[in-house]
Amino acid sequence: MIAPRKILTAEMIAAIEALAPRYPDRRALTLPALHIVNDSLRYVPLEAVVEVAELLGLKPAEVQDSLSFYEFFHQDAPAGIVRAWVCRSISCALRGGEEVMEHLCRKAGVRPGETTSDGLLTVEVAECLGACDFAPCMLAGSTLYKNLTPEKMNEFLAHSKVSCHE
């Protein structure tokens, strides 16, 4: 068995290696590996990038280059327990998406991209979530919140136990 590294646990390494037979080239494991790290740590610190690169036989810069392209993985600190992606694209914007986003940010006391001080919630800006039939909507964790209103946002915040402002 492969020994754990400083950041990558034996489980993470095993999960990455389990996917290896799917691809003829280990570089293709980059995104799956980053997801595996991110799913458990809620961020991908630079040390993890170095370790993923070692595991895949790549240069750290190659992994960091791909990672940074997506603007998806947090790197400085873990994201909140729940990442809430609020859609701002056209169908949602037409049905109150921007207002719902403003309400969420005001209540949670953060700006888009930021994490609440209790570490429970990160509010993220999303482009079309592919759920325009339920506009305005938000993907929080793996739950799609549909036809949002400020009241429904309040319920979501209460449910996630985020301490609210104002």
């Binding site: 691809y23 293709a28 049905r95 482009e127 592919g130 325009c132 793996s142």
Partner: protein, 451 residues
């Protein structure tokens, strides 16, 4: 058309529609069985070619023809990439197909792989679809258990593995070569073509990229036959020998200011007005419609007067739009400011440009800066002309960029400014009574909201 019955969405509303048992009860996988015993891969290609099926992912390229671009007698491997990145604003039919009837998608994928002689298929699935992921993975597991995937499928000599590959929230991964680069573990920078993926694609091997709805159609065509498919939709224009026609059913996504947003199956060629009235329950709040996106935001905008345009592959182009795109119709009611619409569109493309080509990277962010300035009451008539210039000069069609994202960014701009010029000018003059006529360069605002 009144007797039209949904086929792609036939499973919707049935209990456990997402299971293999349900799909088989509805006749699923019989076509696969029959094909593997009775037909050669080239027979399947011929069927799809004869059906006239055109890709549902946005470009409308004839699917059978695309498959014939693969090199003959290639030793392999050949790869099939199924594009489930579905990120075009307004579009959600792939999500519904994957969540509600994943086996239809998989049967189509297996048949497409058989036709193209691919032995590995990757389904590039956007991060934002966790429910689709779960349903697709369970369905794939069921297929392996049933012998529909793996080695020597159903006792034939054909073997296939299907793997899901998760994206990371980037629109450009839907562009087929951006998808390939992303799958390879690199930044999703679209490639310069040629070489086209059919010749050199994933891992430098011949590759076919097809959309989820396209392969769902493949499953239905192989099951129901070419004549069934060609009995639906709009035949090719006899006056234009190069028109491949618009055959088959299509999943139209309807959203925005209608009473009943949703995904509706109709013959290709339905109009926006019919969609709104017949399926959408009319414009919401008893208001009037002002405009509509015909096929995802990249396709531009239709005025209300253009709502009788048939939504087939050539209809939207006749009224200045880019094309049918994903057939996602977004309705804007009479209260919407077209400047706000443009702002939303420009912000999207500035955010999603991959940054590789200067005209796209700079053009999308400059147009966003101008729209922000206009919305801040500092707009000038000159800005409208500059926007129009950007809209007409960025993209593959003017020949300045690598991929079509820039065309998609330009179209809403030029459509809006041409079709709603008076409204745009009024806005600028009303909000900037003392400066609208200035022609000298002016600075951008400090705050730009693109990222």
């Amino acid at each position: 058309m009144s007797d039209f019955q949904p086929v792609l969405l036939a499973g919707i509303g049935i209990t456990d529609s997402f299971t293999r048992a349900s799909y088989e009860e509805r006749g699923g996988y019989a076509a696969l069985r029959q094909t593997l015993t009775e037909k050669k891969p080239t027979d399947v290609i011929d069927i799809i070619k004869a059906s006239g099926l055109r890709g549902r992912g946005g470009a409308g390229f004839p699917t059978g023809l695309k498959w014939t671009f693969l090199p003959k007698d290639h030793p392999g491997p050949i790869y099939l990439c199924i594009n489930a990145d579905e990120s075009e604003p307004g579009t959600f039919n792939n999500r519904i197909l994957m969540e509600e009837d994943p086996h239809q998608v998989l049967e189509g994928t297996i048949l497409s792989a058989y036709a193209t002689r691919a032995t590995t298929a990757y389904i590039y699935l956007r991060y934002e679809y966790p429910a689709s992921w779960d349903r697709m993975q369970s369905a794939i597991d069921e297929c392996y258990a049933a012998g529909y995937l793996g080695n020597k499928i159903l006792g034939s000599s054909f073997s296939l593995n299907i793997y899901l590959h998760r994206g990371a929230a980037a629109y450009i991964c839907g562009e087929e070569t951006g998808l390939i680069e992303s799958l390879e573990g690199k930044r999703a920078w679209p490639r310069i073509k040629p070489p086209f993926p059919a010749v050199e694609g994933l891992f430098h091997k011949p590759t076919v990229v097809n959309n989820i709805e396209t392969v769902a159609c493949v499953a239905q065509i192989v099951r129901r036959g070419v004549d069934w498919f060609r009995s639906i939709g709009v035949p090719s224009d006899p006056a234009n020998p190069r028109d491949p026609g618009s055959y088959g059913p299509k999943l139209y996504c309807l959203s925005g200011h209608v009473n009943r947003p949703g995904c509706y199956e109709a013959p290709l060629g339905i109009t926006v007005r019919e969609l709104i009235d017949r399926f959408g329950g009319g414009v919401w709040k008893n208001r009037k419609a002002k405009a509509a996106i015909p096929g995802g935001i990249s396709m531009g905008i239709l005025t209300e007067a253009e709502f009788d345009t048939p939504l087939d592959f050539s209809g939207p182009g006749k009224v200045g739009c880019l094309g049918l795109g994903t057939a996602a119709v977004v309705v804007l009611d009479e209260t919407v400011s077209m400047i706000d619409f443009l702002y939303n569109s420009c912000r999207f493309f500035a955010h999603e440009s991959c940054g590789q080509c200067t005209p796209c990277r700079e053009g999308t962010s400059w147009s966003l800066r101008m729209i922000e300035r206009i919305r801040a009451g500092k707009g000038r008539i000159k800005d409208l002309d500059l926007l129009l210039e950007i809209g007409t000069t960025i993209g593959m069609m003017p020949g300045t960029t690598i991929c079509g994202l820039a065309d998609g960014a330009g179209w809403p701009i030029k459509n809006t400014i041409k079709k709603f010029r008076d409204e745009c000018e009024d806005y600028v003059k009303r909000t900037n009574p003392t400066g609208w006529m200035v022609n000298e360069p002016v600075p951008a605002l400090a705050i730009v909201n693109g990222h």
